[in-house]
Amino acid sequence: MMHNHKNESVFVSGDEAVALGVRLSRPHVISAYPITPQTIVVERLSEMVEDGSLVARYIHVESEHSAMSAAMGASSVGARAFTATSSQGLLYMAEGLHYASGGRMPIVMMNANRSLALPWSIFGDHRDSMSMLDSGWIQVYVEDAQEALDMTIQAYRIAEDSSVLTPLMINLDGFILTHTYELVEVPPQEEVDSYLPPFSTPNKMSLEDPKSMGFSTSPADNMEFKYQQHKAMMDSREVIKQADKEYAEIFGRSYNGLIDCYQCDNAEYILVTAGSVTGTARVAVDSMRSKGIKAGVLRIRFMRPFPEQEVRNTLAGAASYGVLDKDISFGYEGTMFTNVNSALSGTAHIPRGINFIGGLGGRDISVQDIEEMFEALRLCPAHDYTEYRKNRIRFVNMGVSIHE
Protein backbone atom coordinates (compact mmCIF):
# COMPACT_ATOMS: atom_id res chain seq x y z
CA MET A 1 0.00 0.00 0.00
CA MET A 2 1.51 3.34 -1.01
CA HIS A 3 0.75 6.67 0.60
CA ASN A 4 0.71 10.13 -0.88
CA HIS A 5 1.92 12.06 2.15
CA LYS A 6 5.05 14.11 1.74
CA ASN A 7 8.32 13.69 3.59
CA GLU A 8 7.40 10.23 4.62
CA SER A 9 8.81 6.77 4.88
CA VAL A 10 6.78 4.23 2.97
CA PHE A 11 6.97 0.46 2.89
CA VAL A 12 7.22 -0.35 -0.81
CA SER A 13 8.71 -2.78 -3.30
CA GLY A 14 11.52 -1.78 -5.65
CA ASP A 15 9.01 -1.50 -8.48
CA GLU A 16 6.82 0.82 -6.41
CA ALA A 17 9.84 2.89 -5.41
CA VAL A 18 10.60 3.42 -9.11
CA ALA A 19 6.98 4.46 -9.74
CA LEU A 20 7.18 6.97 -6.86
CA GLY A 21 10.44 8.32 -8.25
CA VAL A 22 8.89 8.67 -11.70
CA ARG A 23 5.91 10.58 -10.31
CA LEU A 24 8.22 12.97 -8.47
CA SER A 25 10.13 13.54 -11.74
CA ARG A 26 6.97 14.80 -13.50
CA PRO A 27 7.26 13.06 -16.88
CA HIS A 28 4.89 14.17 -19.62
CA VAL A 29 4.58 10.78 -21.25
CA ILE A 30 4.80 7.21 -20.00
CA SER A 31 4.66 4.53 -22.65
CA ALA A 32 5.13 0.96 -21.55
CA TYR A 33 4.15 -2.63 -22.04
CA PRO A 34 3.89 -4.81 -18.93
CA ILE A 35 6.31 -7.69 -18.44
CA THR A 36 7.21 -9.65 -15.32
CA PRO A 37 8.92 -8.53 -13.08
CA GLN A 38 8.50 -4.90 -14.20
CA THR A 39 4.68 -5.00 -14.27
CA ILE A 40 4.09 -3.29 -10.92
CA VAL A 41 5.95 -0.17 -12.07
CA VAL A 42 3.57 0.42 -14.92
CA GLU A 43 0.51 -0.67 -12.94
CA ARG A 44 1.27 1.93 -10.27
CA LEU A 45 2.03 4.61 -12.84
CA SER A 46 -1.22 3.97 -14.69
CA GLU A 47 -3.09 4.24 -11.37
CA MET A 48 -1.33 7.52 -10.59
CA VAL A 49 -2.31 8.93 -13.98
CA GLU A 50 -5.86 7.66 -13.46
CA ASP A 51 -6.24 9.20 -9.99
CA GLY A 52 -4.72 12.47 -11.15
CA SER A 53 -1.76 12.41 -8.77
CA LEU A 54 0.50 12.29 -11.83
CA VAL A 55 -0.37 14.63 -14.69
CA ALA A 56 0.97 12.74 -17.70
CA ARG A 57 -0.18 10.87 -20.76
CA TYR A 58 -0.05 7.14 -20.18
CA ILE A 59 0.18 5.35 -23.52
CA HIS A 60 -0.85 1.71 -23.61
CA VAL A 61 1.27 0.32 -26.40
CA GLU A 62 1.08 -3.05 -28.09
CA SER A 63 4.74 -3.96 -27.67
CA GLU A 64 8.05 -2.89 -26.21
CA HIS A 65 9.20 -1.77 -29.65
CA SER A 66 6.24 0.61 -29.70
CA ALA A 67 6.92 1.66 -26.10
CA MET A 68 10.36 2.89 -27.07
CA SER A 69 9.04 4.41 -30.31
CA ALA A 70 6.37 6.38 -28.44
CA ALA A 71 8.93 7.51 -25.87
CA MET A 72 11.11 8.76 -28.74
CA GLY A 73 8.17 10.61 -30.25
CA ALA A 74 7.56 12.33 -26.92
CA SER A 75 11.23 13.10 -26.44
CA SER A 76 11.56 14.58 -29.93
CA VAL A 77 9.14 17.40 -29.03
CA GLY A 78 11.12 18.10 -25.87
CA ALA A 79 8.82 16.18 -23.49
CA ARG A 80 10.08 14.14 -20.56
CA ALA A 81 9.46 10.46 -21.27
CA PHE A 82 9.58 7.31 -19.17
CA THR A 83 9.33 3.66 -20.05
CA ALA A 84 10.10 0.40 -18.30
CA THR A 85 10.74 -3.14 -19.44
CA SER A 86 12.60 -6.38 -18.76
CA SER A 87 14.36 -9.25 -20.47
CA GLN A 88 12.68 -10.24 -23.75
CA GLY A 89 10.99 -6.84 -23.80
CA LEU A 90 14.33 -5.06 -23.63
CA LEU A 91 15.60 -7.11 -26.55
CA TYR A 92 12.41 -6.45 -28.48
CA MET A 93 13.11 -2.71 -28.20
CA ALA A 94 16.80 -3.17 -29.08
CA GLU A 95 16.48 -1.29 -32.36
CA GLY A 96 14.86 1.60 -30.53
CA LEU A 97 17.62 1.71 -27.92
CA HIS A 98 20.25 2.57 -30.52
CA TYR A 99 17.83 4.93 -32.23
CA ALA A 100 17.12 6.86 -29.02
CA SER A 101 20.78 7.21 -28.06
CA GLY A 102 21.75 8.20 -31.61
CA GLY A 103 18.92 10.74 -31.57
CA ARG A 104 20.28 12.08 -28.26
CA MET A 105 16.91 11.64 -26.59
CA PRO A 106 17.21 11.69 -22.79
CA ILE A 107 14.59 9.02 -22.15
CA VAL A 108 14.72 7.27 -18.77
CA MET A 109 13.89 3.58 -18.62
CA MET A 110 13.69 1.12 -15.78
CA ASN A 111 14.80 -2.40 -16.62
CA ALA A 112 13.94 -5.28 -14.31
CA ASN A 113 16.93 -7.58 -14.82
CA ARG A 114 15.68 -10.96 -15.90
CA SER A 115 17.15 -13.95 -17.60
CA LEU A 116 16.82 -14.43 -21.37
CA ALA A 117 15.07 -17.33 -23.10
CA LEU A 118 15.66 -20.14 -23.86
CA PRO A 119 15.13 -21.94 -21.44
CA TRP A 120 12.28 -19.64 -20.52
CA SER A 121 12.69 -18.09 -17.08
CA ILE A 122 11.16 -15.12 -15.33
CA PHE A 123 13.93 -15.01 -12.70
CA GLY A 124 16.74 -12.55 -12.47
CA ASP A 125 20.21 -12.25 -13.97
CA HIS A 126 22.01 -9.53 -15.88
CA ARG A 127 22.13 -11.06 -19.34
CA ASP A 128 19.40 -8.76 -20.69
CA SER A 129 20.99 -5.38 -19.95
CA MET A 130 24.59 -6.54 -20.38
CA SER A 131 23.77 -7.62 -23.91
CA MET A 132 22.61 -4.04 -24.57
CA LEU A 133 25.80 -2.46 -23.24
CA ASP A 134 26.74 -1.14 -26.66
CA SER A 135 23.39 0.51 -27.35
CA GLY A 136 24.59 3.93 -26.25
CA TRP A 137 22.55 4.10 -23.04
CA ILE A 138 23.93 5.08 -19.67
CA GLN A 139 23.46 2.03 -17.44
CA VAL A 140 23.15 2.14 -13.67
CA TYR A 141 22.62 -0.89 -11.40
CA VAL A 142 20.99 -0.12 -8.06
CA GLU A 143 21.28 -2.10 -4.85
CA ASP A 144 18.02 -1.40 -3.02
CA ALA A 145 14.62 0.25 -3.35
CA GLN A 146 15.78 3.58 -1.91
CA GLU A 147 18.54 3.82 -4.48
CA ALA A 148 15.98 2.91 -7.16
CA LEU A 149 13.80 5.89 -6.20
CA ASP A 150 16.75 8.25 -5.82
CA MET A 151 18.32 7.19 -9.12
CA THR A 152 15.06 7.62 -11.00
CA ILE A 153 15.09 11.30 -10.03
CA GLN A 154 18.84 11.66 -10.65
CA ALA A 155 18.48 9.85 -13.98
CA TYR A 156 16.61 12.75 -15.56
CA ARG A 157 19.15 15.26 -14.20
CA ILE A 158 21.99 13.26 -15.77
CA ALA A 159 20.33 12.30 -19.05
CA GLU A 160 18.94 15.79 -19.74
CA ASP A 161 22.17 17.65 -18.98
CA SER A 162 23.06 19.58 -22.13
CA SER A 163 26.51 18.00 -22.24
CA VAL A 164 25.02 14.50 -21.94
CA LEU A 165 21.65 14.25 -23.77
CA THR A 166 21.84 10.47 -23.59
CA PRO A 167 19.13 8.02 -22.49
CA LEU A 168 19.56 6.25 -19.17
CA MET A 169 18.63 2.73 -18.09
CA ILE A 170 18.09 2.01 -14.39
CA ASN A 171 18.58 -1.68 -13.65
CA LEU A 172 16.91 -3.47 -10.73
CA ASP A 173 17.45 -7.16 -10.06
CA GLY A 174 14.26 -8.99 -10.97
CA PHE A 175 12.25 -10.10 -7.91
CA ILE A 176 15.15 -9.61 -5.46
CA LEU A 177 14.69 -5.84 -5.83
CA THR A 178 11.53 -5.42 -7.85
CA HIS A 179 9.33 -7.45 -5.51
CA THR A 180 11.01 -7.06 -2.12
CA TYR A 181 9.46 -4.56 0.26
CA GLU A 182 11.62 -2.07 2.09
CA LEU A 183 11.25 1.16 3.99
CA VAL A 184 11.83 3.97 1.52
CA GLU A 185 12.12 7.71 2.13
CA VAL A 186 10.03 9.72 -0.30
CA PRO A 187 11.31 13.27 -0.71
CA PRO A 188 8.83 16.15 -0.92
CA GLN A 189 7.78 17.27 -4.40
CA GLU A 190 8.99 20.88 -3.91
CA GLU A 191 12.50 19.68 -3.18
CA VAL A 192 12.52 17.39 -6.19
CA ASP A 193 11.25 20.28 -8.31
CA SER A 194 14.16 22.44 -7.19
CA TYR A 195 16.62 19.61 -7.95
CA LEU A 196 15.06 18.67 -11.26
CA PRO A 197 13.87 21.65 -13.31
CA PRO A 198 11.69 21.09 -16.38
CA PHE A 199 13.55 19.76 -19.42
CA SER A 200 14.42 22.27 -22.07
CA THR A 201 16.32 21.60 -25.27
CA PRO A 202 16.87 23.36 -28.58
CA ASN A 203 16.91 19.96 -30.31
CA LYS A 204 13.23 19.37 -30.74
CA MET A 205 10.39 19.60 -33.18
CA SER A 206 9.03 23.10 -32.94
CA LEU A 207 6.90 25.40 -35.06
CA GLU A 208 8.99 28.44 -34.07
CA ASP A 209 12.30 26.85 -34.98
CA PRO A 210 11.58 23.98 -37.36
CA LYS A 211 14.19 21.25 -37.51
CA SER A 212 14.81 18.14 -39.46
CA MET A 213 14.76 15.31 -36.91
CA GLY A 214 16.51 12.00 -37.24
CA PHE A 215 18.09 12.64 -40.61
CA SER A 216 20.44 10.28 -42.38
CA THR A 217 24.09 11.01 -43.03
CA SER A 218 26.54 10.03 -45.69
CA PRO A 219 29.83 8.41 -44.63
CA ALA A 220 31.27 11.93 -44.69
CA ASP A 221 29.42 12.86 -41.48
CA ASN A 222 28.25 9.71 -39.71
CA MET A 223 31.39 9.12 -37.69
CA GLU A 224 31.27 12.60 -36.18
CA PHE A 225 27.84 11.85 -34.72
CA LYS A 226 29.10 8.60 -33.23
CA TYR A 227 32.11 10.42 -31.77
CA GLN A 228 29.72 12.92 -30.18
CA GLN A 229 27.80 10.08 -28.52
CA HIS A 230 31.02 8.68 -27.12
CA LYS A 231 32.14 12.10 -25.90
CA ALA A 232 28.79 12.78 -24.24
CA MET A 233 28.95 9.45 -22.43
CA MET A 234 32.52 10.13 -21.25
CA ASP A 235 31.50 13.63 -20.13
CA SER A 236 28.54 12.18 -18.23
CA ARG A 237 30.97 10.81 -15.63
CA GLU A 238 31.43 14.27 -14.12
CA VAL A 239 27.72 15.02 -14.46
CA ILE A 240 26.89 11.81 -12.58
CA LYS A 241 29.19 12.78 -9.72
CA GLN A 242 27.81 16.33 -9.61
CA ALA A 243 24.21 15.07 -9.70
CA ASP A 244 25.02 12.77 -6.74
CA LYS A 245 26.70 15.59 -4.81
CA GLU A 246 23.80 17.99 -5.24
CA TYR A 247 21.34 15.24 -4.42
CA ALA A 248 23.19 14.60 -1.17
CA GLU A 249 23.09 18.30 -0.31
CA ILE A 250 19.31 18.47 -0.71
CA PHE A 251 18.17 14.98 0.27
CA GLY A 252 21.00 13.75 2.47
CA ARG A 253 21.77 10.57 0.53
CA SER A 254 24.87 9.97 -1.57
CA TYR A 255 25.90 6.97 -3.64
CA ASN A 256 29.51 7.99 -4.27
CA GLY A 257 29.29 8.30 -8.03
CA LEU A 258 30.25 5.52 -10.42
CA ILE A 259 31.36 2.89 -7.92
CA ASP A 260 30.55 2.16 -4.29
CA CYS A 261 33.24 0.55 -2.15
CA TYR A 262 32.98 -1.41 1.08
CA GLN A 263 36.16 -2.09 3.06
CA CYS A 264 38.34 -1.64 -0.03
CA ASP A 265 40.87 0.77 1.44
CA ASN A 266 43.43 -1.76 2.63
CA ALA A 267 41.78 -4.82 1.13
CA GLU A 268 43.90 -7.62 -0.26
CA TYR A 269 41.03 -9.50 -1.86
CA ILE A 270 38.32 -7.51 -3.58
CA LEU A 271 35.15 -8.84 -5.10
CA VAL A 272 33.52 -6.76 -7.84
CA THR A 273 29.73 -6.91 -7.92
CA ALA A 274 26.71 -5.11 -9.36
CA GLY A 275 23.21 -4.80 -7.99
CA SER A 276 21.51 -6.51 -5.07
CA VAL A 277 24.06 -9.29 -4.49
CA THR A 278 26.32 -6.60 -3.04
CA GLY A 279 24.39 -6.72 0.25
CA THR A 280 25.23 -10.42 0.57
CA ALA A 281 28.84 -9.68 -0.33
CA ARG A 282 29.09 -7.07 2.45
CA VAL A 283 28.02 -9.70 4.98
CA ALA A 284 30.63 -12.09 3.59
CA VAL A 285 33.27 -9.33 3.82
CA ASP A 286 32.40 -8.77 7.50
CA SER A 287 32.71 -12.47 8.13
CA MET A 288 36.11 -12.66 6.37
CA ARG A 289 37.32 -9.60 8.23
CA SER A 290 36.33 -11.19 11.55
CA LYS A 291 38.70 -14.02 10.62
CA GLY A 292 41.46 -11.49 9.92
CA ILE A 293 41.20 -11.72 6.13
CA LYS A 294 41.33 -8.36 4.42
CA ALA A 295 38.35 -8.63 2.11
CA GLY A 296 36.46 -5.83 0.35
CA VAL A 297 33.70 -5.35 -2.17
CA LEU A 298 33.61 -2.95 -5.09
CA ARG A 299 30.11 -2.41 -6.41
CA ILE A 300 29.97 -1.18 -9.97
CA ARG A 301 27.04 1.23 -10.14
CA PHE A 302 27.52 2.43 -13.69
CA MET A 303 28.48 -0.04 -16.41
CA ARG A 304 28.29 2.77 -18.98
CA PRO A 305 30.07 5.06 -18.72
CA PHE A 306 32.50 2.52 -17.28
CA PRO A 307 34.28 3.66 -14.08
CA GLU A 308 37.63 2.77 -15.58
CA GLN A 309 39.80 4.95 -13.37
CA GLU A 310 37.94 4.15 -10.15
CA VAL A 311 38.16 0.42 -10.82
CA ARG A 312 41.86 0.65 -11.63
CA ASN A 313 42.68 2.72 -8.56
CA THR A 314 40.72 0.40 -6.27
CA LEU A 315 41.98 -2.92 -7.62
CA ALA A 316 45.60 -2.08 -8.45
CA GLY A 317 46.72 -2.51 -4.83
CA ALA A 318 44.94 -5.80 -4.22
CA ALA A 319 46.59 -9.21 -4.14
CA SER A 320 43.77 -10.59 -6.28
CA TYR A 321 40.27 -9.67 -7.32
CA GLY A 322 37.13 -11.50 -8.30
CA VAL A 323 34.34 -10.36 -10.57
CA LEU A 324 30.91 -11.80 -9.86
CA ASP A 325 29.00 -11.74 -13.14
CA LYS A 326 25.32 -12.65 -13.38
CA ASP A 327 26.05 -12.87 -17.04
CA ILE A 328 28.29 -14.65 -19.49
CA SER A 329 29.34 -13.87 -23.01
CA PHE A 330 29.34 -17.46 -24.25
CA GLY A 331 32.69 -18.46 -25.59
CA TYR A 332 34.60 -16.01 -23.46
CA GLU A 333 33.69 -14.75 -19.98
CA GLY A 334 31.42 -12.46 -17.99
CA THR A 335 31.00 -8.98 -19.43
CA MET A 336 31.94 -7.16 -16.22
CA PHE A 337 35.10 -9.25 -16.00
CA THR A 338 36.13 -8.22 -19.52
CA ASN A 339 35.50 -4.58 -18.68
CA VAL A 340 37.35 -4.73 -15.36
CA ASN A 341 40.35 -6.46 -16.97
CA SER A 342 40.45 -3.82 -19.66
CA ALA A 343 40.49 -1.09 -17.02
CA LEU A 344 43.50 -2.74 -15.38
CA SER A 345 45.48 -3.32 -18.54
CA GLY A 346 48.70 -1.37 -18.73
CA THR A 347 49.07 -0.82 -15.00
CA ALA A 348 52.44 -1.69 -13.48
CA HIS A 349 51.07 -4.35 -11.17
CA ILE A 350 48.07 -6.29 -12.41
CA PRO A 351 46.66 -8.53 -9.70
CA ARG A 352 45.21 -11.90 -10.71
CA GLY A 353 41.51 -11.95 -11.33
CA ILE A 354 38.95 -14.71 -11.18
CA ASN A 355 35.59 -14.54 -12.87
CA PHE A 356 32.73 -16.04 -10.89
CA ILE A 357 29.70 -16.69 -13.05
CA GLY A 358 26.69 -16.98 -10.77
CA GLY A 359 23.01 -16.37 -10.35
CA LEU A 360 22.09 -17.25 -13.93
CA GLY A 361 18.34 -17.74 -14.29
CA GLY A 362 17.84 -16.60 -10.69
CA ARG A 363 20.02 -19.15 -8.87
CA ASP A 364 20.75 -18.04 -5.32
CA ILE A 365 24.14 -16.72 -4.34
CA SER A 366 24.63 -17.21 -0.60
CA VAL A 367 27.00 -15.66 1.93
CA GLN A 368 28.80 -18.99 1.98
CA ASP A 369 29.20 -18.93 -1.82
CA ILE A 370 30.83 -15.52 -1.55
CA GLU A 371 33.06 -16.61 1.33
CA GLU A 372 34.24 -19.43 -0.92
CA MET A 373 35.00 -16.85 -3.62
CA PHE A 374 37.21 -14.97 -1.17
CA GLU A 375 38.93 -18.25 -0.25
CA ALA A 376 39.61 -18.83 -3.95
CA LEU A 377 41.00 -15.30 -4.23
CA ARG A 378 43.37 -16.02 -1.33
CA LEU A 379 44.75 -19.13 -3.01
CA CYS A 380 45.05 -17.93 -6.59
CA PRO A 381 48.14 -15.65 -6.33
CA ALA A 382 50.23 -18.67 -5.29
CA HIS A 383 49.11 -20.97 -8.12
CA ASP A 384 51.34 -21.42 -11.12
CA TYR A 385 50.18 -19.46 -14.14
CA THR A 386 48.86 -22.41 -16.18
CA GLU A 387 46.86 -23.65 -13.24
CA TYR A 388 45.48 -20.16 -12.63
CA ARG A 389 44.42 -19.63 -16.25
CA LYS A 390 42.74 -23.02 -16.31
CA ASN A 391 40.44 -22.05 -13.44
CA ARG A 392 39.98 -18.40 -14.25
CA ILE A 393 36.28 -18.72 -15.11
CA ARG A 394 34.30 -20.49 -12.40
CA PHE A 395 30.64 -21.31 -12.27
CA VAL A 396 29.23 -20.69 -8.82
CA ASN A 397 26.87 -23.11 -7.19
CA MET A 398 26.49 -25.53 -10.12
CA GLY A 399 24.08 -28.28 -9.20
CA VAL A 400 26.15 -30.95 -10.96
CA SER A 401 29.78 -31.79 -11.50
CA ILE A 402 31.17 -30.16 -14.64
CA HIS A 403 34.51 -31.94 -14.51
CA GLU A 404 34.26 -34.55 -17.25
Binding site: G102, K211, S212, S216, F225
Partner: protein
Protein backbone atom coordinates in the same frame (compact mmCIF):
# COMPACT_ATOMS: atom_id res chain seq x y z
CA UNK B 1 5.20 23.68 -55.61
CA UNK B 2 8.32 25.78 -55.68
CA UNK B 3 11.62 24.15 -55.07
CA UNK B 4 12.76 24.88 -51.52
CA UNK B 5 15.91 26.90 -51.30
CA UNK B 6 18.95 24.83 -50.50
CA UNK B 7 21.57 25.95 -48.02
CA UNK B 8 25.09 24.65 -48.27
CA UNK B 9 26.40 22.63 -45.36
CA UNK B 10 30.06 23.24 -44.81
CA UNK B 11 31.70 20.62 -42.65
CA UNK B 12 32.64 22.38 -39.42
CA UNK B 13 36.27 22.57 -38.33
CA UNK B 14 35.50 21.44 -34.77
CA UNK B 15 33.25 18.71 -33.45
CA UNK B 16 31.77 21.37 -31.15
CA UNK B 17 30.10 23.00 -34.14
CA UNK B 18 28.38 19.84 -35.29
CA UNK B 19 24.64 19.61 -34.77
CA UNK B 20 23.77 17.76 -31.54
CA UNK B 21 22.52 14.43 -32.80
CA UNK B 22 20.59 14.23 -36.05
CA UNK B 23 18.57 17.35 -35.35
CA UNK B 24 19.21 20.37 -37.56
CA UNK B 25 17.34 22.91 -39.63
CA UNK B 26 16.27 21.34 -42.92
CA UNK B 27 17.12 22.21 -46.50
CA UNK B 28 20.85 21.69 -46.32
CA UNK B 29 22.72 20.30 -49.30
CA UNK B 30 25.23 18.06 -47.54
CA UNK B 31 26.65 16.23 -50.52
CA UNK B 32 25.91 16.10 -54.22
CA UNK B 33 24.87 12.53 -54.79
CA UNK B 34 24.77 12.06 -58.52
CA UNK B 35 28.14 10.47 -59.05
CA UNK B 36 26.62 7.31 -60.45
CA UNK B 37 24.64 8.93 -63.31
CA UNK B 38 25.73 7.79 -66.78
CA UNK B 39 23.01 9.52 -68.83
CA UNK B 40 21.46 12.85 -67.97
CA UNK B 41 18.08 14.19 -69.04
CA UNK B 42 18.22 17.31 -71.18
CA UNK B 43 14.98 19.22 -71.72
CA UNK B 44 14.40 20.75 -75.16
CA UNK B 45 12.69 23.94 -74.11
CA UNK B 46 11.22 24.65 -77.55
CA UNK B 47 9.44 21.25 -77.59
CA UNK B 48 8.43 21.22 -73.89
CA UNK B 49 4.78 22.25 -73.51
CA UNK B 50 4.91 22.59 -69.71
CA UNK B 51 2.49 19.72 -69.15
CA UNK B 52 4.45 18.79 -66.00
CA UNK B 53 4.13 15.06 -66.45
CA UNK B 54 7.86 14.63 -65.85
CA UNK B 55 7.53 16.77 -62.74
CA UNK B 56 4.93 14.32 -61.44
CA UNK B 57 6.73 11.09 -62.29
CA UNK B 58 10.32 11.87 -61.36
CA UNK B 59 10.96 9.46 -58.47
CA UNK B 60 13.48 11.82 -56.91
CA UNK B 61 11.43 15.00 -57.17
CA UNK B 62 14.29 16.79 -58.88
CA UNK B 63 12.38 18.33 -61.76
CA UNK B 64 11.41 21.89 -60.95
CA UNK B 65 8.96 24.25 -62.58
CA UNK B 66 10.50 27.34 -64.13
CA UNK B 67 9.03 30.84 -64.33
CA UNK B 68 8.76 30.45 -68.10
CA UNK B 69 6.20 27.68 -67.48
CA UNK B 70 8.61 24.93 -68.44
CA UNK B 71 10.81 22.58 -66.42
CA UNK B 72 14.42 22.29 -65.33
CA UNK B 73 16.39 19.41 -63.79
CA UNK B 74 18.34 19.69 -60.56
CA UNK B 75 21.43 17.77 -61.65
CA UNK B 76 22.84 17.70 -58.11
CA UNK B 77 20.25 15.10 -57.26
CA UNK B 78 19.05 13.60 -60.58
CA UNK B 79 20.10 9.96 -60.70
CA UNK B 80 19.67 9.59 -64.43
CA UNK B 81 16.99 6.90 -64.35
CA UNK B 82 15.34 8.18 -67.53
CA UNK B 83 11.76 7.89 -66.29
CA UNK B 84 11.10 11.52 -67.25
CA UNK B 85 12.34 11.01 -70.80
CA UNK B 86 10.30 7.83 -71.17
CA UNK B 87 7.15 9.51 -69.89
CA UNK B 88 7.30 12.84 -71.67
CA UNK B 89 4.33 12.83 -74.12
CA UNK B 90 6.15 15.26 -76.42
CA UNK B 91 9.58 13.61 -76.51
CA UNK B 92 11.02 16.81 -75.13
CA UNK B 93 13.56 15.07 -72.92
CA UNK B 94 16.60 13.39 -74.31
CA UNK B 95 18.98 11.20 -72.27
CA UNK B 96 22.49 12.38 -73.11
CA UNK B 97 25.58 10.38 -72.23
CA UNK B 98 27.55 11.98 -69.39
CA UNK B 99 31.12 12.92 -70.05
CA UNK B 100 32.53 10.72 -67.30
CA UNK B 101 36.08 12.04 -67.83
CA UNK B 102 35.04 15.37 -66.38
Amino acid sequence: MDKPELKNFTKPESIKDYPVGPSFSGGHLVSVNSGWRTFKPVVALDTCTGCYRCYLVCPDGVIVKTEAGKVAVDYDFCKGCGVCAHECPFDAIEMVKEDLQK
